[in-house]
């Protein structure tokens, strides 16, 4: 499935917060959107989902496999969300309903889109738990979110996102709230899921180091405008814009390696 965003403008109370950005993601591609806080990257994902906050409006064009999403009714969008677009949000501690078991939440998209009978619920939940490599799938589906670690909860969130085998996977800073070792596990999970399912991945982050691990192409945003786009390797090695250079410098600073003289 492919995603084409053209001339997307998002306004909040008449103020332009995203100003005419565009990008295309082909089936099986891993695309990254990077920018500082407030650059409009999260709003872009919400616009694709049709879930912009109250008072925000989007104009332009967002096409999923040629179908225009902007201007669709809520009902049509609800049929698309979860079924054709899977989403993972930033904070795994708050993205799960605290009162429902892991199993019920894993299969929720399947139930919403009428792909599951009640009797198959448990089997499907266990299969999804296995798919995202949760430990002890048979038992974890009966647990509640507060009984899981942050990394496990994010695996659950990924499982929910891919439950209906959507053609487009949106990930809005899914590793930001996790520590570094868990981060690379989740990134590996994303890579393998995209490779297996041939879905298109849109990965939003502010961390260039994370981006270089997951995506092949990147769009750099600043203050709602595109400043640069292209293959990750080129942007990383030869940033053409000062904003990109700043992000690269920040990534270098956080992944600073001790020199030979200092203790390992």
């Amino acid at each position: 499935m492919s995603l084409d965003v053209n001339d997307l403008v998002i306004e909040i109370d008449g103020r332009r917060v995203v100003d005419g950005i565009g990008f295309s993601v082909a089936s099986g591609a891993r695309f990254g959107i990077i920018g500082e806080s407030g650059s409009g990257k999260s709003l872009t994902t919400l616009a694709i989902l049709g879930l912009l906050p109250e008072g925000a409006t989007a104009t332009g064009s967002i096409r999923l496999d040629g179908d225009e999403l902007l201007g669709c009714s809520d009902r049509e969008l609800a049929r698309t969300r979860g079924a054709r677009i899977g989403t993972v949000f930033q904070d795994p501690l708050t993205a799960l309903n605290p009162l429902r078991t892991i199993g019920r939440q894993l299969v929720e998209p399947l139930e919403l889109h009428g792909r599951l009978r009640r009797t198959q619920r448990r089997d499907a939940a266990v299969r999804l738990a296995e798919l995202v490599h949760l430990p002890d799938p048979e038992r974890i589906v009966d647990r509640y979110p507060h009984q899981l670690s942050g990394g496990q909860r994010q695996r659950v969130a990924v499982g929910i996102a891919v439950a209906c085998r959507p053609g487009l996977l949106l990930a809005d800073e899914p590793t930001t709230a996790l520590d570094v070792t868990i981060q690379s596990e989740i990134l590996a999970l994303f890579r393998s899921l995209v490779d297996e399912s041939d879905a298109a991945l849109v990965f939003v982050t502010h961390d260039l180091a994370v981006l270089s691990e997951i995506s092949t192409d990147v769009l750099v945003l600043a203050h709602g405008r595109e400043v640069e786009s292209g293959p990750v390797a080129r942007i990383l090695n030869a940033p053409a814009h000062p904003v990109t250079a700043g992000l690269v410098a920040a990534a270098r600073a956080t992944s600073w390696q001790p020199s030979e003289g200092s203790a390992a």
Partner: protein
Amino acid sequence: MSGTVAQRTRRPRTPTWLREVLRRPAGLAGAIIIAALLVVAAISIFWTPQNPFDVDPFHQWEGPSLRHPFGTTGSGQDIFSYLFAGARTTVAVAFLSSVVAAVVGVALGALGSLTARWFRESVAVLIDILIAFPTLLIAIMLAAVFGSSLWTLVIAVGIGFGVNIARVSRGEIRRVARSDYVLAAQASGSGPWRILFDHLLPNIAPVFIVQLSLSAAVAVLSEAGLSFLGYGVSSSTPSWGRMLSILQNYVTIYPATVVWPGLAITVTVLGFNLFGDALREATDPRLRRSRRASEREVRDVA
């Protein structure tokens, strides 16, 4: 693997929330009080120890005896039988007005938080206006127009506490509606009704249930109070409140008699409050298990 799965799904669903309520001493006490009230109310429909309306001029103001366990009134009515029969009024008022309060509270709370801005702000103003009217005043106004009956009382008390619940639930729904898991559920394709019933209402339930058990308790008091004032249920319906209002005229002369309806009201109110408190804890899985059990579970999963 499939065998164990089939077994698990076929296991009969026991209401965990009830088990959890009964596990707690306070919840058990509340449940016993409410159950006793329900049993007495049910029996009183068919049978009372004596006819509660029988007047006996030869046995006025009697103290407790085998024939009259709680004594008799100034007209010789058996207080025990009268309270026994009054239980069904109390039960009806408590449950019916709680249902009305819950419906009014959820409907106004949802309309006041999930709709377009101008509409929900108007609902908020409406809620504030309605809250400004004391419940007893609403009941008296309704009774003046429609005559005093069980239904006017139930509707008045239901609306009175409904708007209180609406104010609390409005804020709570708004808080939960902004949470990430609601956004995530929308991103999974949940429609507005599903969001409301699957995610918003269960997550405001702890606050809601306390309010509701409180409203059941206060409904019992309101019925007593209104009957005391003469605006309650009609005089052919036995009521603890009316008994209290009749007997309190003689409280300086026969103080022992007035204790019984007062005690019945107090214990019932206490029962609803205890049950509601335990229910609030039981509906939240985070509060549900003992600390040690949940630690063990975390260890198992990790």
